[in-house]
Symmetry: C2
Subunit: 117 residues, 2 copies
């Protein structure tokens, strides 16, 4: 359990004057912190926040051709943002003929939300 960090302070401080109570092990271990950080990082862009918001409010699969004109960005850039969200497990995609449809996978956001609260 816990993290393989050093926990015994290396600095010495004046005797009889501790600066605070000793800190215990962080109870998310490093792997979970990296997972939370990865989700948060994927959401750390206003364009991707709005993409997720549109997909979520639509409550279904949305075609990329509907997403691109929502932004003042090129089609490759929107595709790049969608890929970031997909790599983080926040959205899924599905191809039907020429068109590609994206949808929210709620689990990732529930993970982060559960950690936040």
């Amino acid at each position: 359990m816990g993290i393989d960090f050093e926990l015994t302070p290396k600095q010495k401080r004046p005797a009889g004057e501790p600066c605070c109570e000793p800190v215990v092990y962080p109870d998310v271990e490093r792997a979970q912190a990296e997972r939370m950080g990865a989700i948060a990082k994927a959401l750390g862009d206003p364009v991707r926040i709005q993409l997720v918001d549109v997909l979520r409010k639509h409550a279904g699969k949305v075609c990329v051709c509907e997403l691109v004109p929502l932004f003042d960005l090129s089609q490759p850039t929107v595709s790049h943002h969608l890929k970031k969200l997909r790599d983080a497990g926040i959205v899924g995609s599905e191809r039907q003929g020429l068109w590609a449809y994206y949808y929210v996978l709620p689990e990732a956001m529930e993970e982060l939300s559960a950690w936040l609260t």
Copy 2:
């Protein structure tokens, strides 16, 4: 309300074969998306996730001199991460003599959590 994006699709598609239902306005406007993105971006690093976790679980003010040895990082690097969290409004700080104490400001994380759920 809403976002100043173009909403009428510019691409024409084969008649009688719509790819999906039309997308409505995103109901977080751009400013709110940027706020959410800023919070998520500040949390988008495993070190900062663990910093927040330690501060939160400690339920009080924690001295920087206790935080630094938790990580295999230099003191300036930890200070840099704390500054990022402070700039995003996720933590607050307080100086007492030589030492500096940090603590979680729950409002920012509640903001993001409320948007996520």
